[in-house]
Amino acid sequence: MNIIMRSRLWTFGFRSTIMLYFVVLIVLPIIGIYSQSLHLGWTPFWDSITDPLAWKAVLLTIKLSVIAALINVVLGTMIGWVLIRYRFPGRRILNSLVDLPFALPTAVGGLMILLLLGPNSFVGNLADQLGFQIVFHEPAIIVAMVFVTFPFVIRGVQPLLEELDKSEEEASYTLGASRARTFFQVIFPSMLPGIISGAMLAFSRALAEFGAVVLVAGNIPGKTLIASVYIFGEIESDNAQGAAAVSVLLLTLSFLILGAVNLVQSRRLGK
Amino acid sequence: MHIEVRGLNKQFGDFQAVNDVNFDIAKGQLIGLLGPSGGGKTSILRMLAGLETPTSGDIIFHGKRVNDLPPQERGIGFVFQNYALFKHMTVYDNVAFGLKVKKAAKDVIRERVMSLLELTGLKGFEHRYPHQLSGGQRQRVAFARALAPQPQLLLLDEPFAAIDAKIRTELRTWLKEMIERLGITSIFVTHDQDEAIEVADEIMIINKGRLEQKGTPWDIYKSPQTQFVASFIGESTIVDQVELLKGFEEAASWPGTKALIRPEYIEIGKRNEFRLPSATVPGIVKHLHFRGSEWMVEVMVGDIKLITYRSLEKDVLQPGQEISVLIHRAYLFNDNDTWIMENKLKEDPMPMHI
């Protein structure tokens, strides 16, 4: 019996530790930020998020994130398809490289883009001569966002394509459907859940991105200042309440997206 | 080990998986828990093992209540439906696991494992991994592993479900012999009546969480106590208006009573083949199905369809042929009661005619 008692004590200790860890690390911070943003009441909260610079930053972030997510949908679908369906030299290497943006520190990613597209680079000069600018303007932010969210759609599409029974496609051919028709009516619909959830994840990651963007955006208030950089600025200037208010706005948006992704995925699994 | 179960209940949320089950099992018996899938058999087995906690009721091993003992302390062996072999361990390590837990000496472990592998016919396979074995071999490993720590009670959850029909019969006989030889109290769960009848000393029929009947296979077949047991064991036809059959007219005095008639209660043939032709009713052969070792015959008696078997040695019948049908007995039941009724005419030989 002694061994049972002792194991119960251990079990109890382990359980409480884990629960405490969970609460301290996840639950408490969330409560903290929501209460901080509202602890002075609704008026300052409202003032903080209606500050023109604040909502312009949030709107800009949403706009650019949508663009980045759309670019990723196109690139990701294509690359996911090519990497699963075709056999060609270098396929394995490319497939491993997909995860590079996850493995690479985002600040390093930002620096890379800066070096590649920056003022004294080949691309930068070329763009200059053509009369438009990349770095410290919106295009650079989009490039940075596409870079850090690159793997999402690909990794969302690949398992679905692998699961897809080859015979479904063959059935479509034997029924007289053309290649294009088969793609759009048989293959594409089964890729769609992966594309959607990948795009949503990419979108929410782009919304939250900081490291890569801060280095290339130039951070001009009202023009190239995105939300997370705005929050960082507010923290630096000791306006915790303002930072918390915009954070809450962004957080709520992210939660909605995450909820939507879960819904899409659970519906897929439910089928 | 002597096992006693009193007032056992198990609820999963609103679902009553096990409902007030009581039974006693004598030492050394081999018991089959038989019933349809989802009827609560596995829940009972898992509660005996301590893998599931009863909502209420007592489980008593050797006169000692074991409800609060964890599975580790109950001295049981459990053979899982899919064997749950440790995938990353060899056959040897799988079988040795329970002994290693008990910190037995190395040479003791070795001796016991090797003798079990010998017993289960797995000698030479000790370095294989589970995925390198056939279904039957895995089952034997699971069996050897459960026996290694010398349990007092062996529990087997659908032990043959995942095995090819062909070797299943072979394995059944093997298991029965093995358990008899070891003399260990064993309980196995199955939804296959042939399996239960063939292997078990006693069968417990479980339906919808209730214990319907407990007894030897012959008892259960001969005198089923509930309608469910009667229809679950053996083959049968349900007849709504049994009073229309000759010899069962008395049944009319119990309105709402139905009858269950087994193929082996029915005899068919030409009228002159019967010793008591007066007890027979005329019938028409509707269909004949060849069943390999005999004919299955569908007979219409009036509007009632009956099913029976006929030996291949007798004259071959033709569909549409008129024959005589003798129904020896029927199993009658209504909402309150169940009983067996013999053919009244068959029992009365009417001596004046001779």
């Binding site: 408490l28 930020i33 090519v82 075709y86 490289l97 493995a103 070096l115 915790a240 | 990353h88 837990v101």
Partner: protein, 265 residues
């Protein structure tokens, strides 16, 4: 058609991934070997790399330990009610949805100098924010889901039967875990470790906010890169970045390897 798609894929990889990687290499070698070496042997570089190293080690250890246990409880723990389990399960992903800057802000808000907890720790002489503990906490927050999300599906897939079998054979939870569960989840855990190392090595936003980025004190490799860029010292930034990128590529190879092992077992 097929050729076109493959070419396009190669083009995207070349432009988006390979070119930047090459560029950072040439950038850091712009001033030759000596420039690269000088940039790396600056005291602040060495200190920053050391800070990053400490954070990676501590965070990986803690996150592995707690992540595996939490995954075990979330999958196997019957003592957690189903509803609580579902709630915790959905909340585990939270750090994925939160901008790292916001993650850092949360920690500053709770434990910063102006909060009750912060002043309490200050009084007992334990500095959390703008010091190593805060940075570790921030990185723990960011890496929290990685281990849990790697281990949970493996646990669900192997099912509880092998563990139940072990318990009927007399083994208690500790023995069962090491002899039965661990060998099955091992590769998932290793994969989770690699992901955690990669993420904690590269964490920037949350650490920047929490650390205050004080040179030679709370500066990490990534925040040093940031500072160098802000100071227009791009070649020095590239040198540190190259070291980080080299680690990342190494981790990527490890990830591939772990992934393969994970699939085999």
């Amino acid at each position: 058609m097929r050729r076109l798609w493959i070419t396009l894929t190669y083009a995207v990889f070349l432009v988006l991934l390979i070119a930047p990687l090459v560029k950072i290499f040439t950038g850091s070698w712009g001033d030759g070997w000596s420039g690269f070496a000088d940039a790396l042997t600056r005291p602040e570089s060495l200190h920053a790399l050391m800070m990053t190293g400490i954070i990676v080690v501590v965070v990986t250890l803690l996150n592995t330990l707690f992540g595996v246990m939490l995954a075990l409880y979330l999958v196997r723990g019957t003592w957690l009610g189903n509803r609580l389990k579902a709630f915790m399960n959905s909340i585990v992903d939270l750090p994925f949805a939160v901008s790292p800057v916001i993650g850092g802000l949360m920690i500053v808000l709770i434990l910063g100098p102006s909060s009750a907890l912060g002043t309490f720790f200050e009084e007992i002489g334990f500095k959390v924010v703008y010091a190593l503990p805060g940075m570790i906490l921030a990185t723990l927050f960011v890496t929290f889901p990685l281990m849990v999300r790697e281990v949970m599906p493996v646990l669900q897939e192997i099912g509880a039967q092998q563990e139940e079998a072990a318990s009927t054979l007399g083994a208690y939870s500790w023995y069962t875990f090491w002899k039965v569960t661990w060998p099955s989840i091992r590769w998932g855990v290793i994969y989770g470790v690699v992901l955690t190392v990669a993420r904690s090595l590269g964490e920037f936003g949350a650490v920047l906010v929490v650390s205050g980025n004080i040179m030679n004190k709370t500066q990490t490799a990534t925040t040093l890169v940031y500072q160098d860029v802000e100071n227009f010292n791009v070649s020095a930034a590239s040198s540190v970045a190259l070291v980080l990128a080299a680690f990342s590529v190494g981790l990527l190879l490890l990830m591939e390897w772990a992934k393969k092992r994970k699939e085999v077992h």
